[in-house]
Amino acid sequence: MSAVRAELPRDWVETHVVSGLRTLPSRVGTFCRLELYRVRHDQTELVTRAIQPALWLLVFGETFSHFHVIPTGKIPYLDYMAPGIMAQSALFIAIFYGIQIIWERDFGILTRLLATPTAGAALVTGKAFAAGVRAAVQSFIIFVLSAILGVHLNWNPVHLLAAVLVVVVSAAFFSCLSVTIAGLVLTRERLMGIGQAITMPLFFASNALYPVREMPSWLQVLSRINPLSYEVDALRGLLLGTPSDFALDAMVLIAAMLAGIAAASALLRRLAS
């Protein structure tokens, strides 16, 4: 091994803000690539995590398509539901990702990452996008499954790319939500409880399974403030061609993600100390 480097100037200050911004793209790229390595090492997980959404599509989707009980306009219920299930699967993965960060804390992995020249916000952003990568891979499996089940999907590559971005940004938000809760409750047990307690309400208080106008009014309000609804709306518009407000959806999701990153970064120190 070669000799140590030349000495740095004694007054060298690399602030967190400057360093964070400068290294951000590289850190995000790094953690995303690392996530792909993880996926490659554990492909069975991709399959096991696809079972539940597959059952939703097969059992719930096929059954309700048959009975025509949910008014979804011209499109079959199975088609209507498929983007909702993609979003659901991404949601579960993202929430679980936050729980995993507590594991990393408990094992000292997080401590070690925080001792590298990586600003907390860059670490959080990197991890958030890694959750997005994982969610996008999983959503792709559901996309293929939907196609096999005969859902009429739009194969326009621009739409598909936009749909991937929607899933990534949404998963980044939900993983930060989970990290934020982790930073507040601090233990894995409590986070598991809260994680389970919020994922189902987030899913049901959204437009994932049925049109908002069919809901009781209080649920409509919840659905309007639920980022998952905007994700589903965007995915439906992109993949099925239903009317949607993509600009609004994208704005809400990006704003939610930025707020999530800010909150999770602010609480990261608390998690690591």
Binding site: V4, W12, E14, R27, T30, H41, F107, G108, L114, T116
Partner: protein, 266 residues
């Protein structure tokens, strides 16, 4: 006068009702192997966390090669290779991927990345195992991998928190041989903690005995022993300054975390 590798002055830090650091002052000279010894709860890990900028001390100052740990956080981190007390490599990734991650986190330039990874893996004799998932590694291999990760940055200061805990005697002496060789080949400064007095005595040019957040004594092992009379052993020095038995197994917390690590690594 050349700058010291580490200078701590009157460091104080309190966690709730526990005064973890109660005025810690010491210096580590460039190029030496320095041991921080003391019973569990003495404040060794807390001191190291201050030096690696993971913890901002409530009072006092600390410098690493003249850089202020409070103000020059990122610069300090670039000088240090740090092994925390718990096994910290990622079991779900291969050895190669674990090292690759660190070349990225320390911004090793792209054209040097592959050669740097190969260099540190071969230095730690892990080339053969590099493609395997780390959860299949033995404890000694994980420690070597963590050392490899810590070296990608070519640090000037290596901070090792209980690196030999949980290792069998062969793996332990192998680890210390590597640390000694690294120091003699690169001139790197090493700051370490250990529970084993024989290791500290063989390895360290100087040691500090810590007790209840304070430095109770500091000096070369021979000096400290001679100070208490002829035929004194290092164990006796430890007992004299810290008033406690050497706790070979570690605290409940350490044991629990070691078990968890073992479970994770499968």
């Amino acid at each position: 006068m050349s700058v010291q590798a580490v200078e701590c002055a009157e460091l104080r830090h309190r966690f709730g009702s526990v005064q973890a650091l109660d005025g810690v002052s010491f210096e580590v000279r460039e190029g030496e192997i320095f041991g921080l010894l003391g019973p569990n709860g003495a404040g060794k890990t807390t001191t190291m966390k201050v030096l690696v900028t993971l913890l901002r001390p409530q009072a006092g100052s600390a410098r690493v090669f003249g850089l202020d740990v409070r103000r020059q956080t990122m610069a300090v981190r670039r000088w240090i290779g740090y092994l925390p007390q718990q096994l910290s490599a990622d079991g779900a990734l291969s050895g190669y991927e674990n090292v690759w991650l660190f070349t990225r986190l320390y911004d090793v330039p792209r054209r040097e990345r592959q050669s740097r990874i190969a260099e540190v893996l071969s230095l730690m004799d892990l080339q053969e195992a590099a493609g395997r998932l780390v959860k299949t590694y033995s404890g000694g291999m994980v420690r070597r991998l963590e050392l490899a990760q810590a070296l990608v940055n070519r640090p000037r200061l290596l901070i090792l928190d209980e690196p030999s805990i949980g290792l069998d005697p062969v793996a332990r002496s192998d680890l210390w041989d590597r640390v000694r060789r690294l120091r003699s080949e690169t001139g790197m400064t090493v700051l370490l903690t250990t529970h084993y007095m024989d290791e500290a005595e063989q390895l360290c040019e100087r040691v500090a005995l810590m007790h209840r957040g304070r430095i109770a004594a500091i000096g070369a092992p021979e000096e400290l022993k001679a100070g208490l009379g002829p035929e004194t052993t290092m164990d006796q020095v430890f007992r004299h300054y810290t008033g406690s038995q050497i706790d070979q197994v570690g605290s409940i917390r350490d044991v629990r975390s070691a078990r968890r690590t073992a479970a994770r690594l499968g």
